[in-house]
């Protein structure tokens, strides 16, 4: 692993697993490589979408794949920044088995000066038999207001001061 990834992985783990929606869902970043990221999600009853069968809601798969593809997109940047999602298209192949964890992987398959193209898939016991597949595109942006320093400062602020400080900042 090169130096950039060695710093990048724990930072990404902190952001995705310890704050916001990723923390609420219990996401875990299991592998971070350049342009390739893997994550997992433990089954949670709170996010069931079909109360009759107990299958998790598609929104969880959307969050997982958006996060995973987004991390893969960030991982190919030369200078640290953020990559807003332009669009995301998902095909649901079959319902997730209730009570079982879900694994996702994402890969950047084309990286251009303005747009990063990713694809991802979600599976449970067999990667060859995915529950969902997606393609997503991300923008490259480079503005000082969303620089790496700002990202880290805000995240630490939130970890230290909790959500209250964060809400105050959002209200400004």
């Amino acid at each position: 692993m090169n130096l950039k990834l060695a710093i990048f992985k724990p930072m990404l783990k902190l952001a995705m697993e310890r704050t916001g929606h990723g923390a609420a869902l219990g996401f875990e970043l299991t592998r971070v490589g350049r342009g390739e990221v893997e994550m997992s999600f433990p089954y949670k009853e709170e996010v069931v979408g079909n109360p009759v069968t107990g299958v998790v809601h598609g929104g969880v798969i959307v969050s997982l794949l958006d996060t995973c593809c987004g991390c893969a997109a960030i991982s190919v940047l030369k200078r640290p920044s953020v990559t807003p999602t332009m669009d995301l298209r998902l095909d649901y192949m079959h319902p997730a088995e209730p009570g079982q964890p879900i694994y996702v992987s994402a890969k950047v398959y084309r990286d251009t000066s303005n747009v990063i193209f990713c694809r991802g898939s979600a599976w449970q016991d067999d990667p060859e038999n995915p529950i969902a597949h997606c393609v997503a595109t991300f923008m490259r942006v480079d503005t000082p207001s969303i620089s790496l320093g700002n990202v880290i400062r805000r995240r630490f602020k939130r970890l230290i001061h909790g959500d209250k400080a964060y809400e105050r900042e959002a209200d400004k």
């Binding site: 916001g20 996010v47 109360p51 009759v52 953020v82 298209r89 990202v151 809400e167």
Partner: protein, 148 residues
């Protein structure tokens, strides 16, 4: 936690009779996890999502998680089918396409849905999300559901 199909159908019938889409949302655990709400307006059902820390994606902007916006729109589309169409099962999502138009800032998101086509098997629904102004949407989604 799980309920019988019969209970679900009874819940749907009484929600339609009472003109209360919120009670359909209450049947689905994911909706309370993200905090989705709904009410009947003159021109259809209005869905909204109040801000909460567990829905934050990028704290540096700050922004609502893109996945939450997607999940909220997919949920709204499914509720739209359950509430407005005569279906007797939870619609099965087949595909979902989402365009992000603006960042979802850390405040309430509103959404409405339109059923574009209803066949015997397949329903096509579009959903639009906005914050300050319906004319400046933050995301649009299009999804197919199987209803048989």
């Amino acid at each position: 936690m799980s309920i019988q199909l019969k209970e679900l159908l009874t819940g749907l019938t009484s929600a339609r009779a009472a003109g209360n889409p919120q009670s359909v949302l209450d049947l689905i655990p994911y909706s309370s996890f993200i905090g989705a709400q709904a009410r009947l307006e003159q021109d259809g059902v209005l869905y909204w999502l109040d801000r909460r820390p567990s829905n934050i994606g990028n704290p540096s902007l700050p922004a609502i998680h893109g996945g939450v916006i997607g999940g909220f729109l997919e949920l709204s589309a499914a509720i739209e089918i359950l509430y407005t169409l005569d279906v007797n099962l939870v619609p099965k999502v087949v595909d979902f396409s989402l365009d992000y138009l603006r960042p979802g800032r850390y405040k309430t998101i509103y959404a409405n849905c339109t059923v574009l086509r209803q066949g015997n098997k397949l329903v096509n629904v579009t959903a639009t999300a906005w914050q300050d102004d319906i004319q400046t949407p933050i995301a649009t989604a299009r999804c197919h559901f199987l209803i048989s």
